[in-house]
């Protein structure tokens, strides 16, 4: 098994954290992982994206020119990656910000209203973990237990107080999938 | 005689600065070339013409100015020991 995922959105949506958490979870399961953030001026401003590869074997290229999974948190991200997703792959769209339909029928689409769900939880910032929880529930790249545990590593140190709300957000995303798909 | 100097004839490059600064005019260029080809400075204890004995005070101005550290200075001991550091009377 070698699965490549791209996470994309605009700065502040926590896109890099999504990828990082997935990579940590993969590592905790003793899988081979690479986490490759896009690097450049755009990291500090507009769009942000990262690529995560999780594999049972050594990973050759950390680059995904045709990823199995793409998570798009806004429309420009969907537009950027919609033609790259592997045929038979899945695109996860933040349906609060994306109303457009995907012009492909060989790719499965999973809609998650991440902003709305985060708002319901009383913390607008956890939309990323809601989306990640949904994505992992659908794909099973890692176990939800590992993912939840990974949050403790990701938020080590100063951000410890945020562990619980982020773990709850993961669960909320997973529950949303269970209820709607 | 209160003092004397010794000029290393091979270290000296004959720049003449010691001759310039000696208050007693007791240093002159040698007539003989050294191995490097310079006419080194030499210490004269007597005036050439009058053969009168000259009085080096061991003031060390020549050695202080010498760019080649070619001069050693000796002085008669009077009171306590003097060090090279205190050798120069013009020192402020």
């Amino acid at each position: 098994m070698l699965l490549k995922s791209v996470f994309s959105g605009f700065g502040g949506q926590g896109v890099l954290m999504m990828g990082y958490a997935l990579a940590v979870a993969g590592m905790e399961e003793d899988k081979h992982v690479t986490y490759l953030p896009a690097y450049g001026a755009e990291v500090r401003g507009g769009t942000a994206n990262c690529t995560v590869v999780v594999s049972d074997e050594e990973i050759a290229s950390p680059i995904a020119s045709s990823p199995e999974f793409v998570v798009a948190m806004n429309y420009p991200s969907m537009a950027k990656y919609q033609n790259m997703v592997k045929s038979g792959g899945i695109m996860f769209l933040n349906s609060d910000l994306i109303t457009e339909t995907l012009p492909r029928d060989d790719v499965k689409v999973v809609l998650v209203p991440a902003n709305t769900l985060a708002h319901e939880m009383g913390n607008d910032r956890v939309l990323n973990m809601i989306m990640l929880g949904a994505m992992v529930r659908v794909t099973g790249i890692v176990s939800e237990e590992s993912l939840s545990q990974a949050i403790e590593t990701v938020l080590e140190g100063k951000k410890r107080s945020l562990v619980e709300i982020n773990q709850k957000a993961l669960a909320k995303g997973a529950e949303y999938i269970a209820a709607h798909n | 005689m209160k003092g004397k100097i010794e000029i290393d004839q091979e270290l000296c490059k004959g720049c003449g600065l010691c001759i310039q600064v000696c208050p007693k005019k007791q240093i002159e260029f040698s007539d003989a070339l050294n191995k490097k080809g310079y006419y080194p400075a030499s210490f004269k204890e007597r005036d050439r013409k009058t053969t009168e004995k000259l009085e080096c005070t061991g003031c060390a101005l020549c050695a202080i100015q010498c760019p080649d550290v070619a001069i050693e200075v000796y002085r008669e001991e009077k009171e306590q020991s003097t060090t090279a550091k205190k050798a120069a009377p013009t020192d402020e």
Binding site: V24, L36, A60 | -
Partner: protein, 381 residues
């Protein structure tokens, strides 16, 4: 069970530049001098943060790359395990000092996270500094030991190796990477830390002449015979390094009819391309030099006897390809595929290059695609 858990704890997901910094500290590096330049700033930032907790360690942000490499020189003269890092334009500025460090036979570790160029270029991953790194780079007749990691774990291992080699041979060692290796996170297990106090004494350092004659560390030899002697002595040292240090990875090479040669980031992309081409039934393997100087010419020459053609893939317009040709000495065809300027090729692209090359060599066996446009594919007989 508890053992595996302990092991898991040792494994860390870290970005390459932090891996390099941590590995340097564990290698006993206690002095870092640098000047900011993207894409390697995470390394000096890591050193600054860690050294802030270590009273015996020195981090100094210098006023320029020129100053920082000369501070490295001073620290090495005084006996420290010392490192500096920069990216392409900054490394150019350091070349003066690097030449002196090589001439004075001082150990030092220099990291170059290459970017697209020439000139200011861009901060994307590229490999345009191969010549500069492996052919001397600065003035005079010298070589750096050049290590080219491609994996996070290798960054950790090679950084340790870099400090050991630098001390062993009293020679500067360059770690050649790029922004992708620096930014990418992979799980890493670090070697145990070395206590710098336990490192073997260096009997040549300048530490004050207490109880011994005073020493001079210099590179100036106005006597031409002594300078020639020094140059030949360096050559003998370089020959010893060549015999002992050369290293490479061979992947699916045993039965290969075609070999792709690539290093660093390019090698990982090439490996992905090899895997795809293998799935198409093409007997292709990867040869990845881990040391760029000394270059693994002999093992490559042996492979050349076995294969029909060698493809060299670089993120440049063709630099290492010259060393490949020198190593191969006409035993087989050598072709080149390059993506310079910070363009990162994809494994798909490389598999297309492999299959079209294979098609040319074996027109009846497999029908292949074509190399993508825009890049240069040259063939040398």
């Amino acid at each position: 069970m508890s053992e595996t858990k302990e092991k898991k704890k040792d494994k860390k997901l870290m970005r390459g530049s932090h891996v390099l910094g941590e590995a340097a500290i564990r290698a006993g590096c206690r002095a870092y001098f640098g000047y900011p330049i993207t894409p390697q700033n995470e390394l000096p930032e890591y050193m600054a943060e860690q050294f802030a907790q270590m009273p015996d360690a020195v981090f100094l942000q210098a006023e320029s790359e020129l100053a920082s490499i000369n501070m490295v020189m001073g620290a090495s003269i005084a006996g420290a395990r010392v490192m500096t890092s920069s990216s392409s334009p900054g490394i150019s500025l350091k070349q003066e000092g690097i030449s002196y460090i090589a001439g004075m036979e001082l150990p030092a570790v220099i990291v170059n996270m290459m970017r697209g160029g020439p000139g200011l270029g861009n901060i994307a991953p590229a490999q345009g500094d191969y010549f500069q790194a492996t052919k001397g780079g600065g003035h005079g007749d010298y070589r750096l030991i050049v290590l080219a990691p491609a994996y996070g774990q290798e960054i950790a291992d090679m950084t340790r190796q870099a400090f050991d080699l630098a001390d062993k041979y009293r020679n500067p060692v360059m770690i050649l990477g790029d922004g992708m290796l620096g930014q990418m996170m992979e799980p890493v297990v670090f070697p145990d830390p070395i206590d710098p106090a336990q490192l073997p004494a260096k009997p040549w350092t300048l530490t004050g002449c207490k109880g011994r004659p005073s020493r001079i560390i210099r590179s100036l030899w106005l006597d031409v015979n002594r300078e020639e002697e020094l140059n030949w002595r360096l050559v003998r040292k370089y020959e010893a390094i060549t015999a002992e240090v050369v290293d490479q990875e061979m992947y699916l090479a045993e039965d290969a009819e075609l070999i792709i040669v690539a290093y660093g980031t390019a090698a990982r992309i090439a490996k992905g391309g090899v895997q795809r081409a293998r799935a198409m039934g093409i007997k292709v393997g990867l040869f990845r030099p881990k040391t760029l100087w000394p270059y693994p010419s002999e093992p490559l020459a042996r492979l050349a006897d076995q294969v029909d053609e060698i493809i060299v893939f670089e993120m440049s317009t063709g630099q290492m390809v010259e060393d490949v040709r020198l190593a191969v000495e006409g035993r087989c065809r050598v072709s080149f595929y390059g993506r310079p300027g910070g363009v990162v090729a994809t494994p798909e692209e490389i598999s297309r290059v492999i299959s079209s090359t294979h098609h040319r060599a074996h027109p009846k066996k497999v029908a292949g695609g074509r190399a993508s446009g825009g890049s240069r594919l040259t063939v040398v007989g």
